[in-house]
Amino acid sequence: MDIRVQADPFAPGAVLDGFTAALSGAGAVVSFTGLVRDIDGALDHMEIEHYPGMTEAALRKIASDAMERWPLIDVLILHRHGKLAPQDPIMMVATASPHRNAAFEAADFLMDYLKSRAPFWKNERVGGVDRWVDATAEDEAALSRWGDDAANGGD
């Protein structure tokens, strides 16, 4: 299990190759990379706040839950904080398994929990004005797909 919370930029390819090289017995590796989206071309930058200490613990919990639930060989979660430019990679998860479906489902699970259960908050500066990104009802609802208690964590 590899959990990283960092202000520094990262190259998804280097992370993927490092993750893959360390595997033994894997047949399937799935990666998800989140990029800073700039749909209207108006985003100056994004700033991500987090809760040091709790962040690492929350990510470790999410990764452990995935390892318990699927036959995974390894899991990686990397998430940046601080200032990011449009198109910068924000975060990445990777899963490895002997089986394709397990790798896909676990990556999807990691993303659902990471969105709503890890203490990150995105702030976007658009046209010189800062605004906090709102959580969506869909993100919260997505957790019910996995139908367990963790979906009810928090209020």
Partner: protein, 83 residues
């Protein structure tokens, strides 16, 4: 008891500090919020809609009505937007 109270995102901005030490006998996060609201307008501004807030006690997500017990650190923040 003395608790380190932390604020994040717009909760932090409205209150004006990232964390502070609070002397309280509140039994739950909800009771702690009600106590803080009576202090100053900036707390009222941050805590006016409690359903828009989440809380962590000793760095674990809990419900607003869970017992604070011997908590050392309580954090209030809006729903998380990672990923």
């Amino acid at each position: 008891m003395k608790i380190d109270v932390r604020y994040f995102a717009w909760v932090r901005e409205r209150i004006g500090v990232g964390h502070e030490s609070v002397e309280t006998d509140a039994a739950t996060p909800r009771a702690l919020i009600e106590e803080l609201r009576t202090r100053e307008a900036r707390y009222e501004a941050a805590f006016q809609d409690i359903t828009a807030l989440r809380v962590a006690v000793d760095q674990e997500l809990v419900d607003m009505d869970d017992a604070l017990g011997t908590a050392r650190e309580v954090a209030f923040f809006p729903p998380m937007t990672g990923g």
